[in-house]
Structures are given as C-alpha cells and as structure tokens.
Amino acid sequence: MYQTQDYEGMLAETVTLSGDGCALINAYLARPLGAGPFPAVVLLHHMPGWDEWYREATRRFAHHGYIALSPNLYFRVGHGTPEDVAVKVRADGGIPDSQVVGDTAGSMAFIRSLPYADGKMGLFGTCSGGRHAYLAACRIPDVDAVIDCWGGGVVASEADLNPRRPVAPIDYTADLACPLLGIFGDDDSSPSPEQVDRHERVLIEHGKTYEFHRYPGAGHGFFYYHRPNYRQQQAVDGWERIFSFLAKYL
C-alpha cells in the first residue's frame, strides 16, 4: 500500500498493438515508473465505450502497482468521440466475441513483451466488459485472474445468441483456468440475482476457484460515479475486494 514517503510516478499514453487477426488497434497504457517487474491487468471496456471512466480506471490500476492496458475494442468501427463510436456499436448489436478474445490475447502478448512486465496477467471488465473478461479468461489459457463486474449475458438463453455472440460464456466454464472475482448488485436485472446464482452453481460443479460479492442496495454499474446508479459504500468495498483479489493471485 502506498506510503506518503514513497516515490510515485506513472506513465500513461496511447499505444498501438496487434489485436485479433494481427490487425492494429490502439490501447491506453498506464504503468508505474520503474524497472518493475510489475504484474498486469487488461481492462475490457463497457458498452458505453472506450471512455473517460475507463482511462481513469486504467490509471487507478497503475497507481496500485499494475501495468494496466485498456484496448480500444471499438477501434474497427471508426473514430470520433467515445460516445459517437459506442452508439454505432450499439446500433450494430455489439462486437463479435471472437474479435474481443483476439484483441485480449493481443493485449496480453503486448504486455508480456515489455521489459518491465513480470508475466502475471489479470483481466478486468464491467458491464459488457465483465462478460468479455469472463469469456476471454475461458478462451485464453494463460490468464492468472479475472474480475467480472456485473457482466450481463454470461448466462444467456438460446434466443440471446447470434453470430456475434454464438455461445453463452457460462458454457465455457469448464475451460476457465484461473480464479474469478465477481462483483454484482442485488438490484441488477442483467445479470439478475438468479443468473448470478446459476453462474455460481456452474462454477461449483466444475470445481472452480471464485469469490462472488453481492451488494444489497446496488444495481447495475454501481462504480460509475457519473451515473445515478452509483453507490458509494458498495463501490468502495468493491474496489477493495478487487485489489485484495489481485494482490492474492498476481
């Protein structure tokens, strides 16, 4: 934990990396200054886009000692304000799951190529990013920890599946090879408490290591201080759970 006599420095900048299909995408990288070696976290942004909140969250992980990288999962859609880009994605029904997995794997490879990385790798995501983080952790073998914050659609019915989302992530649970932290609000509708229950049952059936923290009085997106669903007490506790989890597994 940071002490007031400590030196602290951070570098945060946009970088370019090779994503799914070896296509170039951009990403926001924040890292502590110093030789390291540091563990890393890849942040998979939410449906509202590669936005300011995600930049802040990326820097927050760096402040806590992690190389933090947030790939622009909407890079291929075009450029504009994060909101204009996200609206285009929303209209198109989201981005393909396979592309997200490829961009995540590319982000991990980029980080592991850095001389100040220790190779340990966590995934973090909220909202659609929570779903994507869980999906990627199931599809990419060398992830060390994954954090799913209120990822809707991990549990999905046949009617919810389409060519962009052909498989419900919960159906990949047997392949999950790292510990999972889940952060959920009891008042959320997606994932609903019943869906979180089901996810938990499947994790138990497959003998997976996981921690679920479920918050009364909180709904969807309760970390977002700029939205009405923000819940101060639950958000503070949730962040503490996240950094405790990462300290344990990375």
């Binding site: 939410h46 449906m47 075009g78 204009d84 929303r90 029904g93 989201g94």
Partner: protein, 87 residues
C-alpha cells in the same frame, strides 16, 4: 446491462446536429444504456448518416413512458393531418 435490443430503419430526412443541418438516412432505435438521461436503460433514437461520419447524429434518450407518449403524439399528428386533407 447492454440489452442489445436495437432496430434500424432507413429513412430520408434532415437533422440538426452540432455542425448544423445534414441529411439523415437512418434511424437507430434501441432500448439500452443511455449516455445522459439518468436511467439505467432508456429508449434511444439516433438519427444518423454514417456516410458523413460518426458525429453526423441527432440523439434523444427517453423514458419508456415518454417514448410511448411520443409515438402516440406522432401518430395523432399524422392522423390529424390526414383528416385535414394534408396528406
């Protein structure tokens, strides 16, 4: 979260965006996360012309109730115009 409930319709019209008027050729109607209205989900309508760039967009975000009232108002106005022999 992201419901991914969306419908696109082609149309011909004009919208006034941040840079003034432009031709609109598509409307995207979704019930999903909004950006501004203080609700978890909203009825979102984006009038766009993708050929002019992603910022060629006129957006509204409405509650379910207000969206339904808007639909009624549009239909009422069109019916009144029709009844008056304007259509």
């Amino acid at each position: 979260m992201c419901t991914m409930i969306v419908r696109k319709i082609a149309l011909d019209g004009s919208g006034k965006g941040t840079s003034g008027w432009f031709s609109v050729n598509q409307a995207n109607v979704s019930y999903d996360h909004p950006f501004h209205i203080p609700q978890e989900h909203a009825l979102n309508i984006d009038f766009v012309n993708e050929g002019l760039g992603l910022d060629a967009r006129v957006a509204v975000e409405l509650s379910e109730h207000d969206a339904r009232e808007l639909v009624k108002a549009i239909l009422d106005v069109l019916d009144q115009a029709s009844d008056g022999g304007h259509l």
